[in-house]
Amino acid sequence: MLLQIAWRNIWRNKTRSFVVICSIIIGLWAGVFMLSFSWGLYKNNIDDTVFKQLSHIQVHHPLFKEEVESKYSISNTIEILKQLQLNENVASASSRIITTGMITSPTTASGIKIYGINTLSEEKQIGLHENVRQGTYFKSGKENEILIGEKLAKKLKIKVKSKVVLTFTDIKSDMVSAAFRVGGLYKSKNISLDGVNVFVHQYHLRQLLGLDATETNEIAILLKNEAALDSIKKYTAGLVSNGEVEDWKELSPELGMIIESFNMYTYIITGIILLALTFGIVNTMLMSVLERIRELGMLMAIGLNKRKIFFMIMLETLYLTLIGCPVGLLIGWLSVNFLGKYGINISMFSEGLASYGFSSIIYPSLDNEKYVIVAVMCFITALLAAIYPAYKALQLNPSEAIRNI
């Protein structure tokens, strides 16, 4: 009957119970939304990094990472690419020649990273052509065409069709300078890279560097499904004799840290929201206990022991949570699904976010496991919050409580 009494007790003051249930619903929704929004933000960033910059797997000469010099190249690239493209788990694979150098405009100069790319395969690989804002994506047919970031163009005070000079060292460490004509200006979601990365035809850069026809500095592999990451990594390692095979988490350890820190976020954000919820529950349940002092005294007088009184108060809180928690999670899940489909446009902050590599449209998303964590934390919080009011009820002296007006 205690279950019945506790259930009926919560409906004695409908408004108050409704307020508690609403605060649980809003608290959970806010928690789920905050988590899904931040995960959406990071996931966007991770996806951008994987699909627009790194790809899932990269292969380099073992020394290339320490010293970005084109002389540290991978041989037999054409055959490796052919084998990779035949693998059913590989969406695309492309090779890049990379070196660092200086770009000089008529007014100023800047340090850059030069990518010699196969323009067609990079369309598929990182969708570089989609980022072109002015001019065209290697449409002139000329070998000295260069694609540079809008940010760099602004710094160099140049525009499409301007002439620039690239200076770098070849594989023999001799200085090489070559003139290029700006074919297009691009803007990616990572503005910081836009000020550094420039793209030229691979065959032209190869000639300038003196690399062999089968040599490149980087092979990037994009997978159809990330689940195949480990197997393709092994497969690639078997194809490359002098290369180091790394996945995106190894290439960009900060992304791995983002995932780890997000897990920590889950607990912190949920904890903060639930802490606020705790005060609401303590306040309401305490009010509910103080309003029923005489009744609780009477229950003790007629034979309800303190353990059962405690259990009854805890049950009342549990019921409120059992109503609020699933509703809050459901609304949260619906919001995440809806916004995950249509996205949240935060373009008014996009300039600032872009400099950190974030997109202006966020698609919230959340793993099922996180919903479970939020729900469990909510239940634990509610029960912990009910302990104090229940403890207050236990402190009552039946004879004094019965006399309470």
Partner: protein, 232 residues
């Protein structure tokens, strides 16, 4: 010779002993025998309710002891005391004090459920009690749907549910009109006579005092008089 059911030995109760001491009950000795119908009377503040609460184990005496049916309740631990009350003492309070979310039937059955009595037996006992207090037709009414007199009759039925040896009633008629008070007293007098349940009332009400066979008067926390009478 009837058995002593309540033995109050040199009981005193002092509130706020360390600050402003209030001597509510002072060195009271009292023996109540099984089947008595006793009224505890006296002016406000004379210590009636305090003495009644101590006899019911709801309050702890500052000194002295209370023995109910051979058990010294003043030495019992809290949970044992609650359990003792559940099985041996019925309470009727001035302000009805029913569980507002339960029906009349459920209020009475609640005590039986605390005693782990089977559902079948519980239902029979509840209906018998409702019949006894003439509220069979109100079995599914919640306290808010009952009049003051009806609520107090439910409270009496609840007090009797556990087959207690003693029923302690603190001003049970204080909030009732004459007719309801009369009905309630008739029911209690009948139960006292037929089932030999000991009734002890704290009261100001002359109607109750007239029904009692023994009237104990308290003044300033002390027994001023203790007289037997023929109830009217």
């Amino acid at each position: 010779m009837a058995k002593t059911i309540i033995d109050v030995h040199n009981v005193s109760k002092i509130y706020n002993p360390k600050t402003v001491p209030v001597k509510a009950v002072q060195h009271v000795h009292l023996h109540i025998e099984e089947g008595e119908f006793v009224a505890l009377v006296g002016p406000s503040g004379s210590g009636k309710s305090t003495l009644l609460n101590m006899m019911g184990g709801l309050d702890e005496p500052t000194t002295g002891s209370v023995v109910i049916d051979g058990v010294e309740i003043t030495s019992l631990k809290e949970n044992k005391l609650i359990d003792f009350r559940l099985h041996n003492i019925g309470f009727v309070f001035q302000s009805f004090n029913l569980i507002p979310v339960l029906t009349a039937k459920e209020n009475i059955g609640f005590v039986l459920q605390l005693q782990n009595i089977s559902k079948k037996e519980r239902e029979k006992r509840v209906m018998d009690l409702l019949r006894e207090v003439d509220l069979e037709e109100k079995e599914n009414s919640k306290p808010g749907e009952l009049s003051g007199g009806q609520q107090q009759r439910v409270a009496v039925a609840r007090a009797l549910a556990s087959n207690p040896k003693i029923v302690l009633a603190d001003e049970p008629t204080a909030n009732l009109d004459s007719k309801s008070a009369g009905n309630l007293l008739d029911i209690m007098a009948k139960l006292n006579k037929e089932e030999k349940i000991t009734f002890l009332f704290s009261t100001h009400d002359m109607r109750v005092i007239k029904k009692a066979r023994r009237v104990i008067t308290l003044v300033d926390g002390k027994i001023d008089s203790d007289v037997q009478q023929i109830p009217s």
